[in-house]
């Protein structure tokens, strides 16, 4: 590390300003951001969406959208001034060849109608003028490098034949085909499952070592940052507000924004208590920003923050932050808030776990299967799943994309018709199949759903008033117009929305506010049971905390029961009482929350737990990644059964495996006794 400091940076951006012309207005997306990149290091740029992270790095390779341009500052790369480039020819010397980029969605960078081999070969011949046969050999080599088995066969396949993780590997292959010096990864794993994400991060690390690349990660996932980064730059409202070594950022954050980001992580929260959350969203960059951009959202901002823009203060050789808190005059104030923080931390005691001894079963799912027709073929999305939900608990359903977790949630909400088999009992009564109008009405009043994507789950063309009242209209749950309005306003206040919003359209809100509208829409019916289908996966870290807090608050106040569907185990641990793990349509393990984390039994659960990124660089770097392959089971001769191996701890296993798991439990118990 120390050596690096003495080196010259290979890329150095200074006071870069990027402006966009948007609907006749000037948007200043990057407001004087500076950055140095050293050879062989890994830098992570973090911040909420809308902070200008992508735009900033895109300017290094001249890939800004047509209406945007660099209006100030300089970007030096190996003696070249990149901001002076104007033509595509000039950029092509650098783009792809020296600085390559990997995007979030692999499909945006792959051509779906050409084989992946052709696409990689083309990159090689284009940049180096290698003849076709040789380039083809090289392409196959690279495919092998990125961990694609049967590279010769895969070479002739189309992107559609690859899974999401494999596609991302192919994109990485095209990016490294020219041996770039700098690889910029823009949210490379956000669209992937945790297990795949861990593999991709490992792959990038290995490639970086082999090719001595400098890697820049753009991400909002602090767990990923802890895993990969040497240095971290925190970006807010188009400026780098803090940068330093990864340990400095995680252990001694200085800027209030960095602190807030870290505090709002559910991994660091204490069960049963409010998570720290950042209110609002990053500022509107159409307007001139005065002082510290973060001040309006910072409850502990100082008066000066609203008036003067802070300079960069140096904390250590490698650690800089742009906040007035570091000014000598602010010393007293800083000591005061640090003392407050420490005092608050000591006071927090986790809630006691949910008491199941007197719990009543609210929902019973027995041998539920959901079949879909895919052309002539039948496809089992959910395969004989059984579980109970007790009144007042939060049961989380965790699994990768395509595992059938959303399908279970929707089956419970009776979205599917005849393709559901098995039985679902709500308060002892069967709810699958046709129901009378009265019955259906009662169920709509008692069971509600919250959706994943706050953008897609609200009707764009309806006002908030209508969206929230929809359920009220359906069953005429109000006396007169005044009564309806009163109910809408009351629920809006409950979820923390100002009543002035009633006449606005959904697009005028931030993701978190939209999600709150969705929650209000469900709660206005006064339900007892809520299926929350990944309600926070599409949200930024800071907004996640708001929504989690709201869900927890509602649960306490209205005594709700949740079925919480998620793919992110870190969030699940914070909010759930029990966790069910689902793999390819079958439940593989179900256990009380802490027990599952302390003693996972099924190999899939173990793999899933090992892949979850944890926002602490020390923990993250020492973890061992486990993989799971369903071929390890010998289920042909000895089919698995859903067994209660410990009280309240279920597992899908055959007889032979049960014996192994039993031994594991006994060993662990023995160790604890010692």
């Amino acid at each position: 590390m120390e050596q690096q400091r003495k080196q010259e940076p290979i890329l150095s951006a200074k006071d870069v300003r990027i402006q966009f012309n948007l609907r006749g207005q000037i948007l200043t997306a990057v407001r004087g951001a500076s950055l140095d990149l050293y050879e062989g290091e890994t830098l992570a740029i973090v911040g909420e969406s809308g902070c200008g992270k992508s735009v900033f790095t895109k300017s290094f390779i001249g890939m800004l959208d047509k209406n945007g341009r660099v209006t100030g500052g300089s970007i030096h790369y190996r003696g070249e001034e990149l901001t002076a480039y104007t033509t595509e020819q000039e950029w092509l010397k650098v783009r792809g060849k020296k600085i390559a980029m990997v995007f979030q969605d692999p499909m945006t960078s792959l051509n779906p109608v050409r084989t992946i081999g052709e696409q990689i070969t083309e990159v090689i011949t284009w940049h180096f003028g290698t003849e076709h046969e040789k380039a083809k050999q090289e392409a196959i080599e690279i495919l092998k490098k990125v961990g694609i088995s049967d590279a010769e066969v895969r070479y002739r396949q189309y992107p559609g034949e690859f899974s999401g993780g494999m596609r991302q590997r192919v994109v990485i292959a095209t990016a490294i085909a020219c041996r770039p010096e700098i690889l910029i990864c823009d949210e490379p794993t956000t669209a992937l499952d945790v297990t795949v994400q861990a593999q991709i991060l490992k792959l990038i690390k290995e490639l970086q070592q082999e090719y001595h690349m400098t890697v820049v990660y753009i991400t909002h996932d602090l767990g990923v940052v802890a895993n990969v980064a040497d240095r971290v730059s925190v970006m807010y409202a188009g400026q780098i507000v803090e940068h330093g070594l990864v340990r400095e950022i995680f252990h001694e954050p200085a800027h209030p924004y960095t602190k807030a980001l870290l505090q709002s992580l559910p991994q660091l929260g204490v069960k049963g208590h409010e998570l720290y959350s950042i209110k609002g969203t990053p500022p509107n960059l159409f307007k001139e920003i005065r002082g510290d951009a973060f001040a309006p959202r910072n409850p502990r901002a100082m008066e000066i923050d609203f008036e003067e823009e802070p300079p960069m203060f140096q904390i250590s050789e490698t650690h800089w932050a742009k906040t007035w808190l570091l000014h000598p005059l602010a010393e007293g104030y800083r000591a005061k808030i640090e003392a407050e923080d420490a005092a608050r931390k000591d006071k927090i005691v986790p809630d006691s776990p949910f008491d199941y001894s007197h719990a009543k079963k609210l929902l019973q799912v027995k041998d539920l299967s959901v079949n879909f027709k895919l052309g002539a073929k039948q496809f089992k999305a959910v395969d004989t799943v059984s579980f109970d939900i007790y009144k007042g608990e939060t049961l989380s359903l965790v699994g990768e994309s395509g595992s059938g977790k959303t399908t279970i949630g929707r089956a419970i909400m009776r979205i599917y018709g005849s393709n559901v088999e098995g039985s679902i009992l709500y308060e002892g009564e069967e709810i699958t199949g046709r129901l009378s109008r009265e019955k259906a009405k009662d169920l709509h009043m008692e069971m509600q759903m919250i959706f994943q994507d706050p953008m897609a789950s609200l009707n764009e063309r309806a006002k908030v008033d209508y969206i929230i009242s929809e359920g009220l209209y359906n069953y005429h749950l109000y006396e007169d117009e005044k009564d309806r309005e009163r109910k809408v306003v009351a629920i809006m206040q409950e979820v923390g929305l100002s009543q002035d919003f009633i006449t606005r359209f959904p697009h005028e809100f931030s993701g978190g506010q939209r999600q709150r509208i969705g929650i209000a829409r469900s709660l206005v019916m006064g339900p007892d049971f809520i299926v929350a289908d990944e309600p926070i996966s599409a949200l930024d870290v800071s907004i996640r905390a708001q929504v989690i807090n709201l869900l927890n608050k509602m649960k306490k106040e209205r005594n709700l029961t949740y079925l919480f569907i998620a793919h992110d185990l870190s969030v699940v641990r914070f909010i759930s009482d029990r966790i069910a793990v689902i793999h390819k349509g079958r439940l593989v393990e179900l256990a009380p929350c802490e027990e599952l984390f302390a003693q996972p039994l099924h190999p899939y659960t173990k793999a899933l737990l090992s892949a979850v990124p944890y926002p602490d660089p020390d923990v993250e770097r020492n973890k061992i990644l486990l993989t799971y392959d369903s071929r390890m089971h010998s289920y042909e001769t000895d089919p698995p059964v859903w067994t209660e191996i410990l009280p309240g701890h279920f597992i899908l296993a055959n007889r032979q495996e049960i014996a192994i798991y039993q031994k594991e439990i006994d060993d662990a118990a023995g160790r604890r006794a010692e």
């Binding site: 948007l22 609907r23 809308g50 209110k279 609002g280 969203t281 509107n284 960059l285 159409f286 309006p296 959202r297 409850p299 502990r300 901002a301 100082m302 008066e303 000066i304 923050d305 008036e307 003067e308 300079p311 960069m312 203060f313 140096q314 000014h327 005059l329 602010a330 104030y333 979205i415 259906a440 009405k441 709509h444 069971m447 759903m449 959706f451 994943q452 994507d453 897609a456 789950s457 609200l458 009707n459 764009e460 063309r461 309806a462 209508y466 929809e470 359920g471 359906n474 069953y475 100002s498 359209f505 697009h507 005028e508 809100f509 931030s510 506010q513 969705g518 829409r521 469900s522 019916m525």
Partner: protein, 313 residues
């Protein structure tokens, strides 16, 4: 980095104390006051060609309605005096007269009125029935095979043969023409709307409505129609030039409206007969016809572009 230089000259130590935290300002989001319709219209009217064409079309519609009311010239008035036949355009007859001494300028506006009416009627029926059928088709999976077959049957019969046949069976009249075109145009529209409805049918906000127990008719009117209304407008705009063009074509192959009906198709057709001697008799009405069809076509396409949120830059 040189800190000193960036520091303001004097800092007030009193400013380094807690500021009042404004709950409302903290929540104030950087939302853009984007409105779908406003952006669509702005994008639409940004093009100068669109502004010109919309004005031209409006002017022509007004003219074709107002002219027959205020003008005293009878478009059917045949003149016996041969000196009044085949006159060149002049101040008395803007477009000249035809071989029977009828004023082409007057005929052109009566014709434009009739053609517009026919076009609007067909556009309304095609898009109207098309939307309804498309909604059924898209929403009800059981109806899918039936509609697919119907679509194949109707679209596989060549339109010329079908139109000629219908005109032969029924008497040539406005109603026949309307029936001939309206009876097959709707299915094409239905398929278009079916595809659009299919893509929004399973979106999360519709599932949310189902979870709330929203009845079908309210889902249709609150969730579906507002999302495809811009497409409906666009399709209707594209339908009008197509119907006017079809009418001209039918006149051309001789199965159109009776000769005494004044439509753009008939005027153009009659002008064609004396084209070599008196080209203006055909060219001037054709110019109006072209302006109408091209204008609607461009307007429809530009509106389709403008209604796509990706173009709202």
């Amino acid at each position: 980095m040189d800190e000193k230089k960036k520091m303001p000259a004097a800092l007030d130590p009193l400013k380094f104390r807690a500021a009042v935290y404004d709950q409302i300002a903290g929540e104030d989001v950087g939302f853009s006051n984007y409105s779908y319709w406003r952006s669509t219209l702005r994008t639409f009217f940004r093009s100068k060609a669109v502004v010109f064409l919309v004005t031209a079309v409006l002017a022509m519609i007004v003219m074709s309605i107002v002219y027959p009311i205020v003008s005293s010239v009878d478009p059917r008035a045949v003149v016996v005096d041969p000196r009044q036949w085949n006159l060149r355009p002049s101040m008395d007859h803007f477009f000249g007269t035809d071989s029977l001494g009828r004023d082409i300028w007057a005929r052109a506006w009566y014709g434009a009125r009739n053609s517009f009416l026919l076009g609007f009627a067909i556009a309304c029926s095609d898009v109207g029935f098309g939307t309804l059928a498309g909604a059924l088709w898209g929403y009800n999976k059981k109806l899918d095979p039936f509609f697919v077959e119907l679509y194949n049957i109707i679209t596989n019969i060549p339109s010329t043969v079908y139109l000629v046949l219908l005109a032969y069976i029924m008497n040539t009249s406005y109603l026949t023409l309307f029936f001939a075109m309206a009876s097959r145009g709707w299915i094409v529209e239905a398929r278009f709307f079916r595809n659009r409805i299919l893509s929004i049918r399973d979106s999360e906000y519709n599932i949310a409505s189902r979870c709330l127990g929203t009845p079908m008719h309210r889902i249709a009117f609150r969730n579906i129609v507002p999302h495809i209304i811009s497409l409906i407008i666009m399709e209707a705009a594209l339908c009008i030039p197509y119907s006017i063009g079809s009418e001209v074509f039918m006149g051309f192959v001789g199965v159109g409206l009776p000769v005494d009906a004044i439509t753009l198709g008939n005027i153009v057709n009659q002008g064609r007969q004396s084209f070599t001697l008196h080209p203006y008799q055909m060219l001037l009405p054709t110019a109006i016809l072209c302006l109408i069809t091209v204008a609607f076509y461009v307007i429809g396409n530009k509106f389709a572009d403008a209604s796509d949120p990706r173009n709202h830059v």
